[in-house]
């Protein structure tokens, strides 16, 4: 019986000690996420795509492809690419540029706060037919 008392005391003491254990703060590193926004853009039309930045960091946007068909020739007509915040029925753009497809980001924000943002694509008045576009978005 004495052993029982001793064992119970040890178990209780061990359980209590557990609540006193401390955890060291962990450091988190955010790996950038890549999203692709693709679709068909008609003359005079526009569309937008929303994404969420999980933690403050860089956002880069690249018009990666613009073609007349899924498998077809590249198009060099500029597209108006914008970065902003969803508002109302659209995307309220804070920075924009008329761009052609490229390998380097055409729009960047080096320090976007966590939150919801959007990418807008629109015909700046140069399209004469539908084009298929792919926009690459890299963000934290």
């Amino acid at each position: 019986m004495r052993m029982l008392v001793l064992a119970l005391a040890v178990v209780v003491a061990t359980g209590c000690n557990k609540s006193n254990t401390t955890t060291s703060p962990s450091t988190t590193s955010t790996t950038p996420s890549t999203e692709y926004f693709s679709g068909t853009l008609s003359p005079t039309a526009s569309s937008f795509y929303s994404f969420t930045v999980a933690s403050q960091g860089a956002v880069s946007v690249t018009l990666a492809s613009e073609t007349t068909a899924k498998v077809g020739p590249a198009v060099s007509s500029p597209i108006a690419l914008g970065l902003g915040v969803p508002s109302g029925f659209g995307c309220s753009v804070s920075s924009s540029a008329d761009v052609t497809p490229g390998l380097n980001a055409q729009l960047t924000n080096p320090s976007s706060a966590a939150g919801t943002y959007c990418i807008s694509v629109a015909d700046p008045g140069t399209l004469s037919a539908d084009v298929i576009f792919v926009v690459r978005i890299v963000h934290t």
Binding site: L4, A9, F37, Y49, S87
Partner: protein, 146 residues
């Protein structure tokens, strides 16, 4: 026999005290005070056509945690079916749509049909055909938020 019972009682007492002590540790944990949602102080009205089987959404920004109230105020069109309802939801813009966290089928009215507490951040109201539309309609709605 007496000694055995005494030891057993002692064991139970030690265990009870120990567990009570452990329980006390957990009961001293504190809970962060929760802030009350701010009253809705901004109202935005919007209208949009809605096709059969269609969906549209409207985005709005909230600077702080607060109440949101969405009212489907009116549906106009020809040959509206009796008891017409539309799906109305509140969510977050994601991709090319609005992903609702709450959605109900409701008829138009003067009082908010969908309410909740959200924010801060960008949110959206999404309205879609609940399967009852037989022709395109025009939808009027409003969102009140902080």
């Amino acid at each position: 026999m007496f000694a055995s019972r005494l030891l057993c009682t002692l064991a139970c007492a030690v265990g009870t005290l120990g567990l009570a002590a452990c329980g006390k540790n957990s009961s001293t944990s504190t809970t962060s005070p929760s802030s009350l949602p701010a009253d809705a102080s901004v109202s935005e009205s919007f209208s949009s056509p809605l096709n059969v089987g269609g969906t549209f959404f409207y985005s709005f920004s909230m600077a702080a945690y607060g109440n949101v109230a969405v009212t489907l105020t009116n549906i106009t069109g020809s040959d509206l079916p009796d008891g017409l309802t539309l799906n109305v939801g509140i969510g977050r813009p994601a991709g090319t749509t609005c992903t609702p966290s709450l959605s109900i089928a409701t008829a138009p009215g003067d009082t908010p049909q969908v309410t909740g507490s959200y924010g801060p951040g960008v949110f959206c109201v999404v309205i879609s055909d609940s399967g009852l539309l037989t022709a395109p309609v025009k939808v009027d709605a409003a969102v009140a938020h902080s």
